[in-house]
């Protein structure tokens, strides 16, 4: 069937009621724009955070679980199944959280093809002092070259350099937040006191700013040797092994393998950041609810305008039917008008959404909070644009279909007789 006559009518209807057409297009445009912008900002922030998290936490971390409790020794004596043994108030093993054969494990791990970097480390709580200021932090004893290969620390250095950790005796790199609360500047000498009471004079050789507030506020790096000194332990003592993989999605699987192979706890990055991902899920639900309600509102707008238009066009419908246009033709005319409004309005919405997102992404915002970043990281994923467009089209089609169907059911005789 020739679709041309309908198209001609559709275009004439739309162009002869320009203001109505533009107003209903604006409804769709606004909805799509908000969709694009909001989805871009929210997921951009999430992606930024995830990227930072992946980059600054190990994909897998192997450590000795300090809360592991040994089974009561009584069980060795009463092995009988009929015997109940109840030992209250069991304490953790009086054992340092040391990874035995830690350096051998590192060597084994390095031979895995999936692993691209392994960094042994040990960490301890410590009080950092500079003059009267004292702040508690976590001292990570690392081989700075290996650690850098995992986390690209060099990129996040705002002051000093990582290599001085090796060249300067008793060097320390502070997180930016930590340095700020201490009032420490590059090359300042600070005192670090461990829980065991060991005090060391250390020199600030670098300041690190990852953008993740939690880390920047309490993390400091030093060499393995210095940290061992602080903890008063021997040269082979390490507490953690951090692992970076080729493919982050294998982390869960490999973590389980390492756990059973080495007998120590192995945690992948998703487990370590479980709380944040559930926050993201809730955030996403809220985002989509807002977007859907905006599109619903613009859908109702189209519904109203088309309903009004059909009321105005009663005569036209009667004429078209009397000269041989079918019910389906009439329905398609109004449906096509709605789809056309949705299509053009949607395209403009995508464009405006993109422009607003782009402008926002290049204006410095200096957000401080959960994460800190100079610019808003905005997601320009084409999937959003497609989704927004499809969603807009579906919403306008539904909004247009109902009045269109009503129009198709108009009986011309009722209109003609009433004149």
């Amino acid at each position: 069937m020739n679709r041309l006559p309908i198209l001609k009518i559709v275009i004439t209807h739309l162009t002869s009621r320009k203001r109505q057409t533009i107003v209903s297009m604006l409804g769709v445009t606004f909805g799509i724009t908000v969709f694009i912008f909001q989805a871009g900002v929210i997921t951009g922030l999430q992606d930024f955070f995830i990227e930072k998290t992946i980059n600054s936490t190990a994909h897998i971390q192997i450590y000795q679980d300090k809360n592991q409790k040994s089974p009561p020794v009584l069980l060795n004596v009463y092995e009988d199944e009929q015997t109940w043994v109840s030992v209250p108030n069991i304490k953790s093993k009086n054992e340092l959280p040391k990874l035995k054969r830690g350096l051998q494990i590192v060597e084994i791990l390095e031979s895995y093809p999936e692993v691209i970097g392994v960094s042994p480390s040990l960490s301890t709580q410590a009080i950092l002092k500079l003059g009267v200021a004292d702040v508690s932090g976590v001292i990570n004893g690392v081989n700075i070259r290996k650690e850098n290969r995992l986390f690209d620390l060099e990129k996040d250095m705002v002051n000093g350099s990582i290599i001085r950790l090796e060249t300067v005796n008793n060097g320390i790199i502070l997180g930016s937040g930590l340095a700020e609360s201490l009032g420490a500047l590059l090359n300042d000498n600070i005192t670090v006191v461990s829980p065991g009471g060991v005090a060391l004079q250390m020199k600030v050789v670098g300041i690190l700013d990852t953008g993740l507030r939690d880390l920047d506020n309490n993390r400091a790096y030093s060499s393995i040797r210095n940290t061992q000194k602080l903890m008063n332990v021997t040269g082979s003592y390490i507490t953690d092994i951090k692992i970076k993989l080729n493919d982050v999605d294998q982390a869960g699987m490999l973590a389980r393998e390492f756990q059973s192979r080495f007998g120590y706890s192995a945690e992948d990055w998703k487990q370590a950041n479980e709380g944040i991902f559930s926050v993201f899920r809730i955030q996403n639900i809220v985002t989509y609810l807002v977007i859907i309600s905006i599109l619903l509102v613009s859908g109702f707008g189209i519904f109203n305008i088309l309903s009004m238009m059909i009321y105005e066009k009663m005569n036209d419908i009667a004429i078209l039917k009397s000269i041989g246009y079918t019910d389906i033709d009439i329905r398609n005319i109004f449906l096509l008008e709605a789809v056309f409004i949705g299509f053009i309005g949607g395209l403009i919405g995508l464009l405006i959404g993109f422009v607003i997102s782009w402008i926002t992404s290049v204006i410095p915002t200096n957000i401080e909070g959960f994460v800190s970043s100079e610019y808003l990281n905005i997601n320009f994923d084409p999937a959003f644009y497609l989704l927004a467009f499809v969603f807009g089209l579906v919403a306008t089609s539904i909004a247009g279909y109902l009045p269109a169907r009503k129009a198709s059911k108009i009986d011309p005789i009722n209109i003609i007789r009433s004149q």
Binding site: P5, K8, S16, L320, I323, G324
Partner: protein, 228 residues
């Protein structure tokens, strides 16, 4: 002569506000090439009869046979096709699409029929407008035309698909006497020169007397028995 239209025991009731028997046992036939008028005082059921036999109103009792096809047996789809291909309408109020030009209005039924290419159709529409003496108004929007011009556009639109019959409901009723005469003469001319079948409802005796045959309606009944 070939029968275009026939009714058998056509009865029609209105149920609102009260039951009212509008058309009483109407039997009539329209033959190809005839110019027939339905006349009668207002309220006699002229327009109702026209709507019933012209496929617009299908809530009647009895039979209306268009080319030997009972209208009630057709689906909406087929009925629309029948109207498009075989029926032309001219109403009292011109009933044109206000947003379109005169030419577009004339072309609309042809576009729907889809037999001719756009160019051929446009040419044909121009011929019809020319025939009715308003070719110079073709590209104007119809709401810029005078009442008489608008009604002539309606006539051109009714003609575009070369229908078997044209139904006119008081085609001159809304025009001044000069324009009414012009439009009526054109209709008459169509029947004389192009052998077009026309059924026209009118209350104007001076026009009806010039048609081939008058069907007189009074209180829903045909007064004169059919002579053929």
């Amino acid at each position: 002569m070939k029968k275009v239209l026939e009714t058998k025991s056509l009865n029609k009731y209105f149920y609102k506000p009260v039951e009212f028997h509008v058309l009483k046992d109407i039997n009539l036939s329209i033959y190809s090439g005839e110019f027939v008028s339905i006349v009668g005082p207002s309220g006699s059921g002229k327009s109702t009869l026209l709507y019933a036999i012209s496929s617009l109103d299908r809530e009647y009792e009895g039979e209306v046979l268009f080319n030997n096809t009972e209208l009630k047996s057709l689906t909406n789809q087929k009925l629309a096709h029948l109207r498009n291909r075989s029926i032309g309408f001219i109403f009292q109020f011109h009933y044109l699409l206000a947003d379109f030009t005169a030419l577009d209005n004339v072309m609309l039924p042809g576009l729907k029929l889809g037999k001719l290419s756009h160019e051929e159709l446009e040419e044909k529409a121009m011929q019809k407008l020319d025939l009715l003496g308003i070719a110079d108004q073709a590209t104007k929007k119809v709401n810029r035309l005078s009442g008489g011009q608008q009604q002539r556009v309606s006539v051109a639109r009714a003609l575009i698909n070369e229908p078997r019959i044209i139904f006119c409901d008081e085609p001159t009723g809304n025009l001044d006497s000069k324009n009414a005469k012009v439009v009526f003469d054109m209709l008459k001319n169509l029947t004389r020169e192009f052998d077009q079948t026309i059924l026209m409802v009118t209350h104007d005796d001076s026009f009806s007397s010039e048609t081939d045959r008058q069907i007189q309606l009074l209180d829903g009944k045909i007064l004169n028995r059919e002579t053929r």
